[in-house]
């Protein structure tokens, strides 16, 4: 009998030890691919194209991290998550990181125990209505039926906004952007509200985008950021500095076109050299190869390239850089230095 109990105790201890996981970077390496949580589909940010290959601004973030780790931007398994499932997916280890229009808030950071790796899109919540409704301000929406995605900051902001302005509304909760657009398209709600970037992206997919307007009010701050679990600082650093590398690359004029060339030999800009690993040991400090940033930048280009290609003014979504311009151009993007 004693033996059984002893054996049992040992098994329990052993299993418990495996349950407490090793470092995420090691896990990802051992698996050979990155599990990246994205949206269920939001044009320009994350959606599969006609060939089933995921494309978009957030997808580029995942690909850059995969490239930094493996040198291969395609070594990513994309896991579609809804507003409600995303945090459980991350906390439970189903995904290694989220790049999913997720707002960095105090409670998500502190209470839900996530680590945000820096803002990759400065956004705010807006409203979209059919032009025919004749509404020109969000304050005119008294009594309106509003579609919202549940499990988001959107629904909290919406409740606050209507309460603060002392007007009423009827919320229609939905799970995904696609469902929301279907309800909105059928006229089952008068207005659709989500992050302004999401509204622009959704509006671009309409048959007649001109029939819908985005109201002028922006009712919240939504710094959208990639995030990882608390408690694994090395992995948090990998994601944070991959994002910083993309931003710094834009600032230093390193693009997907010239990055290989610049990385071939040390040039005369020391920060470019450190970024691209021709000088110093930054890659090794992260636990990655020396050319990690080269691979990350080559994957989807620097921040500006990725922005323009996916959501910028030349795309149907047509978002201006605005707050998301580099600090040198009057925006908020400001990466800490690579040294």
């Amino acid at each position: 009998m004693k033996k059984t109990i002893l054996l049992g105790a040992l098994t329990v201890a052993g299993l418990a030890a495996t349950a407490a996981s090793a470092s995420t970077l090691d896990d990802v390496r051992a698996r050979g691919k990155l599990n990246c949580g994205v949206t269920t589909g939001l044009a320009g940010f994350a959606a599969p194209d006609a060939n089933g290959v995921w494309q978009g601004f957030d997808v580029d973030m995942c690909r850059a991290v995969a490239a930094a780790v493996f040198g291969d931007p395609m070594a990513v398994e994309f896991v579609p998550t809804t507003g409600q499932t995303r945090f459980t997916a991350l906390a439970s280890g189903e995904v290694d990181m989220l790049a999913r229009n997720t707002t960095w808030t105090f409670s998500r950071d502190v209470d839900l125990k996530f680590e945000f790796a820096g803002t990759n899109y400065y956004d705010g919540q807006g409203f979209m209505v059919p032009k025919a409704l004749g509404v020109t301000s969000a304050k005119d929406l008294d009594g309106a039926t509003v579609c919202i995605q549940t499990g988001t900051t959107t629904e909290l902001n919406l409740a606050d906004f209507f309460r603060a302005n002392n007007i009423s509304y009827e919320p229609v909760p939905i799970e995904t952007n696609a469902e929301g657009l279907q309800q909105y398209g059928a006229g089952a709600c008068d207005a659709y509200t989500t992050d302004a970037s999401g509204l622009a992206a959704s509006r671009a997919t309409f048959e007649n985008p001109g029939d819908h307007i985005v109201l002028p009010e922006i009712i919240s701050k939504e710094p959208l950021a990639p995030l990882v679990r608390h408690g694994d600082n090395q992995w948090g650093d990998v994601v944070r500095w991959t994002l910083n590398a993309m931003i710094t690359a834009e600032e230093l004029g390193v693009t997907s076109a010239n990055v290989r060339e610049l990385a071939a030999a040390a040039g005369d800009n020391p920060e470019v050299n450190r970024l691209l690993g021709t000088e110093g040991e930054l890659g090794a400090m992260l636990g990655l190869s020396a050319d990690w940033a080269v691979n990350a930048i080559a994957a989807g280009g620097n921040y500006g390239e990725s922005f323009e290609r996916n959501i910028g003014s030349s795309t149907p979504i047509g978002l201006a850089r605005g707050l998301n311009a580099l600090w040198t151009n009057g925006g908020l993007l400001y990466s800490p230095p690579f040294r």
């Binding site: 409600q84 945090f87 549940t150 909290l156 309460r163 909760p173 059928a186 608390h230």
Partner: protein
Amino acid sequence: MTISVDTPKETFRLSQLLYDTRYRSLTIQVIAFILLMLSLSWLVSNTVQNLQDLGKDFNFGFLSQPAGYDINQRIIDYTSQSSHGRAAMVGILNTLLVAFLGCTVATVIGVLVGVLRLSKNWVVSRLMAVYVEGFRNVPLLLWIIMIFAIMSEAMPQPRDFREGGTASMLLGDSMAITNRGIFIPKPIWHDGSTILGAVFLLSLVGIWAFRRYAHKRQEQTGDILPVLWVSLGLFFVPTILFYFLLGRPVTLEYPELGGFNFQGGIQVRNSLIALWFALSLYTGAFIAEIVRSGILAVSKGQTEAAFALGLRPNRTMNLVILPQAMRVIIPPLISQYLNLTKNSSLAIAVGYMDVRATLGGITINQTGRELEGMLLLGLFYLTASLVISSVMNVYNNRMKLKER
């Protein structure tokens, strides 16, 4: 006096635990128990360990924090400033509402269809068979989504009800079917409505007492009183009389088009309609089969005997067949009610704000309390199921064959 003590002394050897049938089953049970306990303790310690690794604790304090989100269908007062606990309560009531409405309609449909399927009329019985096979062989989720899609895609928008629009209200402008749900009049209770309610309750008691009296009298004297007519009279006459005597204490508030939407009245939302009807039609198909099997389980001799006594077919059904069929019907019917209640959590497909959506959805998402939330949710469904089945069991015991 010495009697030879030659009986071999029982010596216990370890191998007996395995080979001796007297001990074997005990051994197996002990081992199984230990294994069970080990896996349970592993589960618990693993959970504790993982929570610790994530830096999370286990506590229910979040239930008293403000929820911050709005809920469209509220049976009790609730604002975004109310607590997560209250939001869970709103969700629980919404779950119970759809479960109650669903069970009621499913039973009505089930009994009707079950009886009609046995009809001698070929067309009627075939039609009922088509209904049963159609509904129970297609996943419930599809029915929910289909009804929801029909409501939101095919029904007119509120603005179509404006002057010169294409849609108009029904039943003397008291009801509107829109793509946001059905708007119906809402009763407004004024002074004196409590008296009216009391009168109505009293007439229900009256009906019950009269039925008992009629039953007794029939047993003693054989006279049959006109139970149906008296019951109907008791049901309507006093209440209507008092309604006018008290100066119409209950009025109806009609829905009216105003601003973006209909105002006033009661809005039966698309999500509720879709869930309610899909659950009723789907479960109704199963109940129909249960009712049919219950009726068929009563041997034909019973019918023949009743006919031989001169009972007419519907009296045979009511007095002879159904009371016996009920004994077969009720136990599986309980399972159907439990299924319906738990299936109501498919509300997720249409955004009906049930307890899964409030406590098990938004609250968990905003507070990160997955474990606590899911445990509470499981506890709620468990309690609800146990209450339903114990109430139904009381009924079952009353209907059971009483051997005298």
